[in-house]
Subunit: 193 residues, 2 copies
């Protein structure tokens, strides 16, 4: 691993553990066994480092989501697929996933929030469109595509959040496909089924 990637990895670990604001540039370079000018050489600033980290890690996930949301399969199939992709993204790097969520919930004026926001807006819009395309077929949607999109993303996330609260360190192994299906079903048909 080159020093650029090393710095991003160390930064991610620290941002996850202590929060973006609470982590100093000094701390990052110390963990990487380097010095500050090296970090500034690659990223220009602390926020530049975060932005590059987001770009390299989030883009692929977002691409997969867009692809699944555009697919012409029926809504149930689409939601299953979206659930799968999201879980895979979570499994790939739980720390990064939880860092994203933390940043999404941080204050509006915060630079870090502004850095992640565009990615989530795009993610959200993609899923709104999936519901939108379905609106003709589903009678009772009544313009609630936005609510459903937020609700769906939230439901998936709640499940992953519960997983992670129970077992942050991946001890219990990967999440099975049927578990995801069960969560998506819960969203579609409620808990009383």
């Amino acid at each position: 691993m080159n020093n650029k990637a090393l710095l991003m990895e160390c930064a991610k670990e620290l941002f996850y553990a202590k929060g973006y604001d609470a982590v100093g540039v000094q701390e990052i370079v110390e963990r990487a066994g380097l010095t500050k000018p090296t970090l500034y050489y690659y990223f220009g600033s602390k926020i530049g480092l975060l932005r590059m980290l987001l770009e390299t890690r989030f883009e692929r996930y977002l691409f997969q989501v867009k692809e699944a949301a555009r697919a012409e399969s029926d809504i149930r199939e689409t939601l299953y697929r979206l659930g799968e992709i999201s879980c895979a993204f979570y499994e790939e790097d739980r720390q990064f996933y939880m860092l994203m969520m933390a940043l999404l919930y941080s204050a509006r004026e915060n630079e870090a929030y502004q850095a992640v926001r565009p990615y989530f807006v795009e993610l959200y819009e993609s899923i709104v469109q999936a519901f939108e395309r379905e609106a003709g077929k589903l009678g009772n949607m009544r313009g609630r595509q936005r609510q459903f999109a937020i609700g769906f993303l939230g439901t998936i996330h709640q499940y992953l959040f519960l997983q992670w609260e129970t077992d942050p360190e991946e001890a219990s192994g990967r999440i099975g496909g049927e578990q995801i299906a069960s969560v998506v079903d819960q969203f579609m048909y409620g808990i009383f089924t």
Copy 2:
């Protein structure tokens, strides 16, 4: 408003806007038109201020939740009531509500996270118990009380989050009871109803 309450109000506004870590003690006292020793006189430390803020604002909400969760009404009624209480809490002070959520999603090592955690644990446990009491009557719960509690809280929150994303400044007025009922229904019976 006395200076103690004034400091808490100013701190809340700043913590909401910029995040706990990003706000300096200096900034808080400046907004309040006071000086640092006054803040330290009342709260002892920056984290002491946050803790007192949580105590004075969260306790009443938590009490109402516990009461509703203990009630012997059927689960649907209980969930409606919990939805109502949560929305009222949100409406009472949207900034405070969103600050809570931001703190809940901040890093584990963060003092601020550790300050809010106990409140959410209690909140969560209360709702688990409401489902638990229902487990005998509902056949298909199969030990998923915890998942339902998280899911329910998450669903309510997603709705409030959407409200707030759309209109952070309360321009569109209060949330109606039927809207809450609709969200709770979505949780119970899914989106296909």
